[in-house]
């Protein structure tokens, strides 16, 4: 067995790639070790076909969600432990148009940093009153809203002493399959940012900042919850034509 990888080794690798340009992470980002055998070596094949099926996408509607799905604190008889928060924002396309009536899904660890997943063996307690799954449809202005609790950071095995900053996983649909996005929302001021190869895989500083929600005091509800705002912009093919409000 070789020496376990240390944070200092990963830090060096992160530093070597810092500032590379790109709106999205490179798939071959070695500091995140799981990428090594899971990224294609060959260039992607460019499709320039105005009839491509991927320029349309699945449709979701009121039958696909129920009204309670966006409140993760109301899914069990009791209140979950942790800091109650609301996360809201708008889903927009690159032209700034609202993405309407589309599905937003989230999942997250509980306040102790534990997922309700059999393979999460982090020795932190599960919370009987928290599942950590939510979904909603965006409104006419592209808006979404979730009430949940702030997830805890958690350890993982990328290297020795690897910890994920607190984050909420987001899954989004646009009107085209090419606008599909799965990403993670982070919380402002987390001291774990510089150590995390997943967050640092977004090597451009301003792009990385787009993953961090803002704390907005006016969105906090007195005696109830702290308010965060996170707007999301879906990428898409350069020539995506989209009819408003499909």
């Amino acid at each position: 067995m070789s020496e376990p990888l240390k944070q200092a080794d990963i830090d060096q690798e992160i530093a070597a790639r810092a500032g590379e340009h790109g709106e999205h992470p490179a798939r071959d980002y070695a500091p995140y070790r799981s990428t090594l055998l899971r990224h294609p070596h060959r260039p992607l094949v460019v499709v320039k076909d105005p009839d491509a099926a991927e320029l349309s996408g699945p449709v979701f509607g009121v039958t696909d969600v129920t009204t309670l799905d966006n409140d993760l604190t109301k899914q069990h008889p009791g209140e979950p432990l942790g800091e109650r928060i609301t996360v809201r924002g708008r889903v927009l396309d690159r032209q700034g148009r609202p993405v309407r009536g589309q599905l937003v899904e989230i999942w997250q660890a509980n306040a102790s940093g534990r997922y309700l997943h059999q393979r999460d063996d982090h020795p932190a307690p599960l919370d009987p009153n928290f599942t950590g799954v939510g979904r909603c449809l965006t409104g006419d202005d592209g808006g979404y809203l979730f009430t949940t609790i702030k997830p805890g950071p958690y350890p993982w095995r990328n290297h020795l002493n690897a910890w994920r900053p607190a984050h909420i996983h987001f899954s989004l649909f646009g009107t085209a399959f090419t606008q599909r996005l799965v990403t993670q929302m982070y919380f402002p001021g987390d001291p774990l940012f510089p150590y995390d190869p997943i967050m640092q895989s977004v090597t451009d500083e301003s792009a990385r900042q787009r993953l961090v929600a803002g704390y907005v005091h006016e969105l906090s509800e007195p005696e109830y919850s702290l308010g965060y705002r996170w707007d999301i912009v879906l990428d898409g093919p350069a020539g995506t034509w989209m009819e408003e409000g499909r």
Binding site: R94, R135, L181, T183, A238
Partner: protein, 175 residues
């Protein structure tokens, strides 16, 4: 132009959030498509999530809502009603890296696939072709093969996805 929100990996723990009962059952009485997802060492990938989007038999891409249909009383998943075609599927690979889809042959000849996995920082697109197509003709023969499903028996096709290596699947960029 707004800058897009960067992609991040789906990670290993999406399993209790994204997959849903019947996610691979787009339509009955049609065809079955199945295969494995492999990494660059040739090992199966047990924590990939595949999404499928396709036209109906007549080539229409106007899929109906109702893929995730919920019971409004208790929130449980009712799933598709089986009559309206939604065109959307979502299937996690199992412990063997295997997945399966039941659907109809799309009128436009291919099923679009979006691949997510732990270790994949940005999803990948590919296509499952069920017959010859001009798009395939433009690719070198060796690579073309990776996009064509192999008939296995009546109504059942095999389609493996190789994320990396000798047999690497053709992945697509829509610009």
């Amino acid at each position: 132009m707004n800058h897009p929100t960067p992609s991040q990996t789906v990670g290993p723990f999406y399993g209790y959030a994204l997959p849903f009962p019947g996610g691979g059952d787009l339509a009955s009485g049609g065809i079955g498509v199945h295969g494995h997802v492999y990494d660059g060492a040739g090992d199966p990938v047990p924590d990939a999530l595949l999404e499928f989007w396709q036209a109906d038999e007549h080539g229409s891409l106007a899929g109906s809502p109702g893929t995730l249909r919920r019971d409004p009383t208790d929130g449980s998943v009712l799933g598709r009603d089986g009559l309206r075609f939604t065109g959307f599927g979502r299937v996690p690979t199992d412990q063997d890296g295997h997945w399966a889809l039941r659907t109809v042959v799309p009128g436009n000849g291919y099923i679009s696939v979006c691949v997510f996995a732990r270790g994949l920082l940005h999803h990948l697109y590919t296509r499952i072709y069920l017959g010859p197509d001009a798009f395939l003709d433009a690719l070198p023969a060796q690579r073309r093969r990776t996009l064509v499903a192999t008939p296995e028996r009546e109504g059942v096709y095999r389609f493996d996805i190789h994320l990396q290596g000798e047999k690497e699947t053709v992945f697509l960029d829509f610009g």
